[in-house]
């Protein structure tokens, strides 16, 4: 198996450290060789930087990739946004020698060179391809029996031209990983719809962003689930903190717990909700917390 370095990005270490902890615990348990990536920066955020200036976007992204190249490791991200930036930049630089030369002339200013020797992986496609749902089941010690509204997020699977993860209207690979934990992935209206945060919309147009989120939350509530599961801390932040903002703005009373897949998997691998930082979310659903504590203690 390839050696990996964990690319944290911004939101995981600086807002949802539970996802960082959960990811480290899970990968350790699965015997995956992973190390930190000291000095890594913002990926940079695709919604803004890629929208501003391509040269800058490539320069910052390639610096992060070079940090991992130097360690002889592939990058592993737990964020769709970071995946979008790093994987896209890596691909463009590898296939376009002119762009690579141009980016390297910037990197020369800080004594670095992009070689193109590392791959960028997302934890979901990594787990699916390198371990697979069937083998993953062998590691599970706690059958979760949760009803899950799965949110793939956009940049994990799109643009499909560059992702090679199959079709984008009704993919199943992530659902299979969810169900490997003993949970049930419940279908719901507009499951593949965006959470409304990306592209700089959450920061630039907060109201419109929350309107999109509210639609998504209404569909999820109708499906009657225990929690939302995502694979992106920015979607996670939108669903979790955004849910509080939606309630304030629209007078609703949503209280749907939100887990990153690393946290869901962590529960199934026998870690406690506390260790996985699940209680640190903005949404505090006592009923759900009681349920996962019972599951985790083997009382269910």
């Amino acid at each position: 198996m390839e050696k990996l370095s964990l690319f944290l990005g911004c939101i995981v270490p600086n807002r949802y450290p539970g996802i960082e902890k959960a990811t480290k615990l899970c990968l350790q348990k699965l015997d995956i060789d992973i190390s930190d990536l000291p000095g890594a920066s913002c990926c940079p955020a695709p919604g803004v930087f890629k929208s501003f200036d391509k040269a800058t976007w490539l320069a910052l992204a390639s610096r992060n990739i070079v940090l991992s190249e130097k360690r002889g490791r592939d990058l592993l991200t737990v964020c769709n946004g970071c995946y979008g930036s790093l994987a896209d930049a890596n691909l463009e630089l590898k296939k376009d020698p002119e762009l690579k030369a141009c980016t390297n002339s910037c990197l020369k200013e800080i004594g670095m060179e992009f070689k193109g020797t590392a791959e960028v992986r997302h934890i979901i496609e990594f787990l699916y391809k390198e371990i697979g749902p069937k083998k993953l089941k062998e590691y599970i010690t706690t059958q979760l029996d949760l009803k899950v509204a799965l949110h793939y997020g956009c940049h994990l699977i799109k643009p499909s031209r560059d992702r090679n993860l199959g079709e984008t209207e009704a993919p199943v690979f992530f659902d299979e990983l969810v169900e490997a934990t003993g949970s049930k992935s419940v279908d719901y209206t507009d499951k593949m719809m965006c959470c409304g945060a990306g592209g700089g919309v959450r920061s630039g147009h907060a109201t419109e962003s929350l309107e999109m989120l509210e639609h998504k939350l209404a569909c999820i509530r109708q499906a009657g689930v225990d929690c939302i599961v995502n694979a992106c801390p920015f979607c996670h932040l939108q669903f979790d903190r955004g849910q509080i903002a939606v309630n304030e703005k629209f007078g609703t009373d949503y209280s749907i717990p939100v887990l990153h897949y690393s946290q869901l998997l962590g529960l199934a691998l026998g870690f406690s909700p506390y260790e996985l930082g699940i209680e640190q979310n903005a949404v505090q659903n006592i009923e759900f917390l009681a349920k996962i504590y019972e599951l985790s203690a083997g009382l269910r």
Binding site: N14, L37, C42, S51, D53, C154, V201, H205
Partner: protein, 161 residues
């Protein structure tokens, strides 16, 4: 805009001429359901070299979800084109104040979302180092980011015009 929009887009590998204005993009748009974003119209206006679209706020209502691009029956990379239009808009000095702030944040601390006291405490509760292993912990790494942004003239691009 000294050059014409369709030419600039074409040079970036984005030919909008094959668009037949079917509206699949607009019909598929999760933002367009709730906002004034009309992707089909942006494509038409870009093709007609209506440069006023660069100052249109609608450009910044796209979440870059790529649904339009995936569904386009003519396989036009629509989201890529929209991102190209945004870059042209920024070159012309159009940038939302919130987005300028995020740019400044990255120049200042290497992150779009920097560490705060509340999260430091949460990290400690989890047994993690309160300062993560990122650019925030290594001043020399932060200097690299600043030098790199300067080499790209990013500070000039995002300065208020």
């Amino acid at each position: 805009m000294s050059e014409e929009l369709p030419k600039v887009l074409k040079a970036a590998g984005l030919d909008l001429l094959s668009c037949m204005q079917c509206g699949t993009c607009t019909g598929s748009c999760p933002s367009g359901r709730h906002t004034g974003l009309n992707t089909r119209r942006i494509l038409r206006d870009a093709r007609k070299n209506r440069v006023e679209i660069l100052s249109d706020d609608a450009l910044w209502l796209c979440t870059t979800c790529y649904t339009c691009q995936e569904r386009c029956p003519r396989n036009i990379p629509i989201t890529d084109a929209l991102l190209e239009l945004r870059r042209l808009a920024v070159k012309e000095g159009f940038m939302l104040p919130e987005h300028r702030k995020i740019s400044e944040m990255v120049m200042e601390c290497g992150h779009a979302v920097p560490l705060d006291e509340e999260t430091k405490q949460k990290r400690e509760e989890l047994g993690l180092d309160p300062i993560p292993e990122t650019v925030q912990k290594y001043p020399e790494a932060l200097q690299e980011i600043r030098n790199l942004l300067k080499a790209c003239k990013f500070d000039e691009l995002t300065a208020e015009k």
